[in-house]
Symmetry: D2
Subunit: 340 residues, 4 copies
Amino acid sequence: MKKYSFYNDYSEGAHQSILDMLSQTNLVQEPGYGLDSISLEAADLIKKAVSANVDVHFISGGTQANLTVIASILRPYEGVIAAKTGHIAVHEAGAIESTGHKILAVESADGKLTVDLIKSQLTDDEHMVKPKLVFISNATELGTIYNEQELKEISEFCKQHDLYLYMDGARLASGLMSSASDLDLPKVAKYVDIFYIGGTKNGALIGEAIVIVNDQLKKEFRYHLKQRGALLAKGKLLGIQFKALFTNNLYFEIAKHANVMAEKLTNGMKQLNIKFLAESTTNQIFPILSNDQIKKLEEMYGFYVWAKVDENSSAIRLVTSWATEEKMVDEFLSDLKALV
Amino acid sequence: MKKYSFYNDYSEGAHQSILDMLSQTNLVQEPGYGLDSISLEAADLIKKAVSANVDVHFISGGTQANLTVIASILRPYEGVIAAKTGHIAVHEAGAIESTGHKILAVESADGKLTVDLIKSQLTDDEHMVKPKLVFISNATELGTIYNEQELKEISEFCKQHDLYLYMDGARLASGLMSSASDLDLPKVAKYVDIFYIGGTKNGALIGEAIVIVNDQLKKEFRYHLKQRGALLAKGKLLGIQFKALFTNNLYFEIAKHANVMAEKLTNGMKQLNIKFLAESTTNQIFPILSNDQIKKLEEMYGFYVWAKVDENSSAIRLVTSWATEEKMVDEFLSDLKALV
Amino acid sequence: MKKYSFYNDYSEGAHQSILDMLSQTNLVQEPGYGLDSISLEAADLIKKAVSANVDVHFISGGTQANLTVIASILRPYEGVIAAKTGHIAVHEAGAIESTGHKILAVESADGKLTVDLIKSQLTDDEHMVKPKLVFISNATELGTIYNEQELKEISEFCKQHDLYLYMDGARLASGLMSSASDLDLPKVAKYVDIFYIGGTKNGALIGEAIVIVNDQLKKEFRYHLKQRGALLAKGKLLGIQFKALFTNNLYFEIAKHANVMAEKLTNGMKQLNIKFLAESTTNQIFPILSNDQIKKLEEMYGFYVWAKVDENSSAIRLVTSWATEEKMVDEFLSDLKALV
Amino acid sequence: MKKYSFYNDYSEGAHQSILDMLSQTNLVQEPGYGLDSISLEAADLIKKAVSANVDVHFISGGTQANLTVIASILRPYEGVIAAKTGHIAVHEAGAIESTGHKILAVESADGKLTVDLIKSQLTDDEHMVKPKLVFISNATELGTIYNEQELKEISEFCKQHDLYLYMDGARLASGLMSSASDLDLPKVAKYVDIFYIGGTKNGALIGEAIVIVNDQLKKEFRYHLKQRGALLAKGKLLGIQFKALFTNNLYFEIAKHANVMAEKLTNGMKQLNIKFLAESTTNQIFPILSNDQIKKLEEMYGFYVWAKVDENSSAIRLVTSWATEEKMVDEFLSDLKALV
């Protein structure tokens, strides 16, 4: 029996305020398929938070969001540029290809795209897939983030080259609340054509909010949702969660907690002279430990061994969340200290 | 402001026992993607209820279940036979075709398939789609049900002709609890290759349980789930609901309530000499009213006008659920009586 | 050993002028993929024949043309309206569904669509496939044709309802050269958004010419061709055939021959008081014979038994072509007379 | 006006013996869709040449062959491993992804796969695409070839790991006739599950012969052909070409000529101390020239500039074919000598 799990940020259930709202609204009769009053309220709260004339649609999970969004944008021969570590390129079991589209995957050490990396994929050879969409994650799958200047450069390049820009926000809350971030929701909406605000990994039971900024991408989006099996009959389940999360700044407050816990882990380990695979300021961190230390830690804690570094050591992944208990962070550091 | 909605069986939230279990298990750390202890328990409860060596997978909704199941079974040139009123043939926005497969839709007055109707679609012309799967719903989209003899005949015909048989169980609880039904879960599992047990329309917030009976269809099914965006990170949300529903026979008890409420409506209307579009013994009924009566009822109650019958009258659809209040049924009948 | 085959219009090879041009140009080095000088010339000849500013692309066969065209036009949730007898709805092994799109098939006694039939399929329910394209064949799969008034009405209705109109021209030559036709290529181009001119069934070895009239459908069409495996390396094979066919009116002259042969068969059989399944003025005819007559004819001639009419009789299909020999038509009529 | 084109091996038409057979059989009536007597004969000739109990299907081109074969084998979540330079990974405009499948592309300097490269892609993580098919080309897109030992090792590894092995034989003739090759058709059939014999790039007007060795992959393959638009009505056009090519060893004789011409070019350039990008013993060669030399050569000859080597020089691609005239090879070498 392990003491605690740092496996991921979806190990627990939902923030209490979500459960409360579920109970309070449980027996109110509402229209189905996301047309209920609570989903409409939640969408309005997000529009306010984004400060732009956007369309908002709620959906069950990240892979579903990615496949529905990407397939809604591309013509059959068009493809999507992504970092090789991008979630769509690795951990979606071919969901994007299943909708008919190639992912043009680019090597990137830190999980981020740059204008140069995007440029390297452009072509107008009609025997090749035509790049039309750029996929970025913020925070990335390696815990890194984009700053405003980087995002602005990519955005401008995309506009110049008739490319759409899409941000996967599975961990957007943690990304925006990073102490190193100078971005916020209105700035994200300013630079990208479409993005999603992740709920599952930040306090919801389920749910992501797709935010469509570019008018050209808004048309008949609900048909896409329906066709992909993503239009829930009891759509208010999704609306309730985002209403709760976007009330009293809850969404950002709890992400901040996750980041603070990760920072505490990071600082504690740095004091033990532990190195890291990547510089993360978000809720995923990648310390490098000896195989022996890892073996002993695994008896006490849950986490993934992420990547082999050399014969004797590997990077592990520790993930914190809105629910991570500070005392367990302390205990982990204390247990680790005993092994170093 | 209307008094009450008979629009559908997904107008409310979840049965209280589900909300309770959600709260109780909320902060227990669990593995993701349906590998949590509660989902495993729920699957075991269903295996017991089905009395067969089946695989069980939980999924968000019915369209998602249908597209994932059907696409998992068929080779590219194979198609699925369904009644023209079948959910997949009408109300899934082309979800099945989106996975590459033709639906061979057959006219059927009562929403049911028969051996003869299935036979009419068979062909081995290599210029045509090859039928490989038969899709039936129980209860059907018109509220009708299959009895054991009918299901047995279809099942035997399918086996003889190398066809798989799939039952859409969005309203399986209501179908099996119909006073006219001689089927139960073990019998369903005996006759079909794969089916799903609907939760959304019978007390869950969200969720259907796919039950794979035929060993040939079990292999690597979780890959399909992942690829279709159907593998929820917090899969325990689904497990919790089916654990609650399959504890103390709750799933069937609440479906019985829905049926009793529909029966009460039916009997009350028959006393008023009202005719019906179809003979339903489940939770959807289709009384035929004059356009004038409909107009007045619509001011007080929510329901769909289903089909025009002649210049002066139409069939409406009334749907009851686990949450339908008996006093509202009485009030509806009383209000209707005043209009006749 | 049978005397002659009336099975279809692709039983023989190519018109001699095509073989001659193949030989003459065989060793001239040319660019690949349809960018050769002969394909460009052929496209110009077609543009002149059509009298409109169209794009022309050559492709191997009819199913390939249909799937490439339809998939190039539709967004994922959009569908195509067709007669139930339409080639795409029956004899393409699900090629259209394979690209993700539903065919909304409408009953039609004579293989033709009308404004009323199209209207019956329109809907803006986001749970259903959205009709966006209308598919018609001319001549139809039953040998019938559209006149200008009929085509004009459909065209206007499509424009009013934001639908594209596509004509499958596998047997366009026979259709336009029908004695009952008041259409020609420029009129077709005036009324439809996109169509194809069939070569395979009218004197070519292989090849159809896709003609895109509507500017909105022209963009990057060659990418679609490439992706569907339809861009032939030695594209000049296709160009040569259409250059030959559109030189000296050959395409229409040889279609006229096919029609005259079919008319001769029809008239000869009418003199024998034989009835027909449909009134065809093109190169497919459907006489109704007794089963006994059919059995004896089958020993001498090749043809398909098309549809059972009653216990004692069936309709057969006789197809003539540019290569049908008049003496075999005479012999067939003489042999049939002996059986009546 | 250029003197000669070394652009590719599909710049000309067909070998004369194909044109002759086309003329001789032109007016013989035959069944359609590849069931004609000539296609059956051609298939028999290939079966003899392969010395195995294979199924043979003829198809128009290489991209069509690749997409039809690959989509016929894989279940939705399965993918295909290929070298990053593989034709399917680069120059098919996403044809494979269009059928729903991911290509797992591996870096390879010489265009070949090895057991180690294949092994690097294996995974059984259900969140990732499952590799099920290995795609190799022989000759490769870089002109290199597999020897028997290499092919045997890959074949054995695939069998051990439940992977199918598919060989793209667009340039199989040139590959097998390479002076460095110890493979022949029966050996290829011994080691792979399915492959195709390329006609278009070796003397045909059009056409590839898909050869299915593994019984499991044979079932109902013609349905796949039909659905992909690949079943030509006048299928005998394809049969004729392979009958001609597999009569009197023509297929291999003319490939040998192409290789000899390439070898002559190679040897001539080596005498001029010219280096090569890759060691090719087939009909594609990649000499490295100064940008100045290239510019002058381009005024006289057609060829592609393939890859930048450094600031001052690039590799060009010269392709020879069955039709390459020896005097033009001599003239090219002489013109080049004057530039060195």
